[in-house]
Every structure is written in structure tokens, then in C-alpha cells.
Point group: C2
């Protein structure tokens, strides 16, 4: 029907909210919406009265392989029809409207949508047309408005970007990735004994070289060196490399003939 | 120089990180980057060896008015030159690389960048070229990698979208918007006395109409009605409207002649 076939093997994940584009104008933005949804693990797309009809080849061109979302998209005549089987509907609303309605951040909305999904209920998020946004009747049909906190001096997201922020927050609301983690792959972070082994080696050679010849300052200097190497959270492999560096620097100095023997090492 | 002038009145906010596009290819993506930055309150843009030179009119066309960011953009020959005055550099890295390096989420990176900024230090975030991404030397020049948690079955952000997620998280890291808040504008949320006043009115009319004629069930029915109206967090204006609705329903029924007198009200 669209002349396209394939794309990423996407499928619905759990009880995720439906994305509802209300009177979308540009097919490119419908494709960008599908791409954004796929990034955030959303799948069900509904279109209310798309201006240029549906399907539209242009949508597939901007979907970046999120074809299955476009293929499964459903078209409705009205917001009422598109939300009839849902129990909770949120409406994105970039500009403040003069209505008495709960206003959620994207993050707050994502957290609530996760709770709604966990209760086994079906939810949807309305996104308005490119220029005008949702109208007053669309707003009245929603349980809450979603307004993204962004720089008030410049709030300018297109439709695909707005869906991306919402889809990203939906994904993040259950993501367990640690905010910071040292990637060591198959390597192991060295334990303190291994670190001490390296520091002993280094200090032994620094004593031999004369670097630590100031007896009064020696203990403090050794501690400072330890402070630095302590911070790097070295892996076992990295400690082996550091051992090698020390050994090679010592040996190399010997090989170069620049005072590489015992006597030479006593000078800084 | 670009034939464009104006745009939004953007300026640097605080000690925000520099966005560094490494070997960017498409000017449209440089413009989209500026737009994304402006949304998140970022301002300083650096370009390392942009493929097609700089400036490029096409960038202004996709910047959506973030012109000042483009006008202030600086061009460098190398990552080393672009980061020379920075103390902390993070590198976005969508694909896992086999390096021993801290890996941050976008949210974790934003939190750390806020701490770095509060310490008065200058930071930057590297974004790689569209196709290839950052190379191994770029990675080695960074303190940490940033990898966005997204649907592993479909991770596909273009350059502007990646910058948008990072800029959004930078903004959110200090945003104080409540996750849910009832927008009442100049209206006031009604206090309990006002709510009781309405419920008394309603129950009085329901007693008069005969709706609560079952003496055994009356107390429970009144409580259930209260449970519902309690949930809506009505404003004072909304309570006035509800009072009016009750009064008009009673009066209207009288006017219609359909049993509007006392006798009529005793039937459900």
C-alpha cells in the first residue's frame, strides 16, 4: 500500500499509551512521530482526520525504519472516536490555556502513565496539529494537560520533537540504567591489594631514583601520589600497564646510558 | 554574512556546557542543533572541521529563530583545540565502545554538568558526525561517555534529536516545575466549607426529589456522592456553577410541568 516493506521488528511493549495525532498536516511529521515513538518503546499510533489522508509515502521516508508503527496506525474522524476505548487521556499543550485543568510535566505525565498502565488501563496522549495546536474542545476531552518545562525564552519543538521528549520520558520512567557506571567490559576493577601492589612498585622505584629523597616531605608526597591513582578506579589490566610503564621507564633510562645504574638513580 | 538577522533574543545562561559538533556534515543539522540548544537554555556552539565550511545559510533555515547561537558559533580545526579551555568533556556515544570509561545516562550527565557548572568550571559535550559518530581518538579525549537509555530494539536519533535530549535533560536538571499542578489561573481552589455548602445544597434537593428515600442506604449514598465531588478539587467558581446546575435542574423541572411540585419530587 505504501510501496515500503520491512523496517525494524517493532511490536507493542506492555500496556503503553497510544499516541494520538489530532488533525496532523505534514506526513513527514507523522513519520517523525513514528520514529520518536519507536525510540521510546511506544507502538500504537492513531490519526484523527489527517489533512492529506492516510497512508502517505512521505511518512515512511522520515520514519527511519519505524515502518511497523505506521502500518499499524489507525485513522479516526474525531478525538471522541479515537479515545473511546481509553480511560485516561492527556493532551500536550505548549501554550498555557485559560482552563482549570491539571498540568503535568512530561516527566510527571510519564510517571502517571506508567501507573495507569500498571493498573491495566488504556491511556492516550493527544498531540495537536502543527500550527494551531489542540483546540478548546480537544482540551476539554483530556484529563490533564502536559506542558514540557523548557527555556521560556525559546520554546520551539516541532511535532516529532514533542513526541520524542514524551516518548523518551516514558522510556526513562522505568529505565534502570545507572546514571554513572565505569564500563570495564570483560575487565575487572582492581581491588585495593592490587592497587597497593602497584603503588609499592612505584614508590620503590621513586625511592631508588631519588624522587622521594626529601625525608620530611616523603610521607606526604607518597600520600598525594596515592590520592591521584586512587581516583582513577583502575582495572586489573590498567594496573598491569602501569606496572609495565614504571618498569620500562626505569629500564629505558638504564639503556639510554643517562645514569641508568644505581649511582645514577640516586640523582633526581 | 548569512543574509539572516534577528531571531529570538538568546544569550548565555549561567555557566552552561558548550556543545561541540565534531566534523558535522549537514548544515541543516547544525541549525537543528542550535534550535535544540535554545530549547534547553544552552548557548555556546563549537564546530570542529564542519564538512561544508561555515557559515552555511541552510543552518539558519532549520534553527527556528535560534540565530544568535549560530552567529556566536566558533569553528576549530581539532577536538583538542575546541576543548583546550574546558576542564570537563563528555562525549555522546550511541553505540557501546570497547573502552574503559565511565558511561553516563543523559540524565546522569546533566546532573554532573550542573555540579561542574556550580564549581565554576567550563564543560563541553561532544557530538559526533552524522554517520560515523565520534572516532576512538575523540573518545579518548573525553572524561566520560554519554549514552541515552532508549528502546534497544530501535535506537535511532539524528544529530538534532540527540542534542535535544541532552539539552532537555540539562534544563530539567534544575527545573522546579511541579510534576502535577491544577492550573486555576486567577481562580481559587475551594476550601472544605465551600465544598460542604454545595454538598448540603445537593443533598437537600436530592432529599426533596426523593432520590435518597431509601433510609437504610441514604448515609452510604450521601458518602459516595461526596467521594466523587471530593476528587475533582473544584475551584470556588466551579462550585458556584455546580450550585447553579442543581438550582436550575430543580427549577427547570418545575417549569417543564413534568411533576415539578412537591408531590412530583417524591418520585424518582
Amino acid at each position: 500500500m505504501t510501496g515500503r516493506d520491512g523496517g525494524a521488528p517493532l511490536a507493542p511493549i506492555g500496556n503503553a499509551p497510544v499516541v494520538i495525532l489530532v488533525r496532523p498536516q505534514m506526513a513527514e511529521n507523522i513519520g517523525a512521530t513514528a520514529r520518536a515513538m519507536a525510540n521510546g518503546g511506544l507502538f500504537h499510533l492513531r490519526l484523527v482526520a489527517p489533512r492529506d489522508g492516510w497512508p502517505q509515502d512521505k511518512a515512511w521516508r522520515t520514519a527511519s525504519g519505524a515502518d511497523r508503527i505506521l502500518e499499524a496506525a489507525q485513522v479516526f474522524d474525531s478525538v471522541a472516536a479515537a479515545t473511546a476505548d481509553l480511560t485516561h487521556v492527556f493532551a500536550t499543550c505548549p501554550r498555557p490555556r485559560h482552563v482549570v485543568k491539571p498540568v503535568l510535566t512530561a516527566r510527571g505525565a510519564a510517571a502517571e502513565l506508567r501507573v495507569i498502565a500498571a493498573r491495566g488501563l488504556a491511556s492516550g496522549i493527544l498531540f495537536g496539529p502543527e500550527r494551531a495546536g489542540l483546540d478548546n474542545d480537544d482540551m476539554a476531552a483530556a484529563d490533564a494537560l502536559v506542558r514540557f518545562p523548557l527555556n521560556p525564552a525559546f520554546m520551539s519543538l516541532n511535532l516529532g520533537q514533542a513526541v520524542l521528549v514524551m516518548a523518551y520520558e516514558w522510556w526513562m520512567a522505568e529505565d534502570q540504567t545507572l546514571p554513572r557506571m565505569l564500563a570495564t567490559h570483560e575487565g575487572k576493577v582492581a581491588n585495593k591489594a592490587a592497587l597497593d601492589g602497584f603503588l609499592d612498585h612505584l614508590v620503590r622505584e621513586l625511592d631508588a631514583s631519588g624522587f622521594l629523597r626529601n625525608v620530611e616531605k616523603r610521607a606526604g608526597m607518597v600520600r598525594n601520589i596515592r590520592h591521584y591513582f586512587q581516583r582513577g578506579e583502575p582495572t586489573e589490566q590498567e594496573l598491569r600497564t602501569l606496572h609495565g610503564i614504571v618498569t620500562e621507564l626505569v629500564t629505558g633510562r638504564g639503556r639510554s646510558g643517562a645514569g641508568g645504574d644505581k649511582a645514577g638513580r640516586e640523582k633526581p
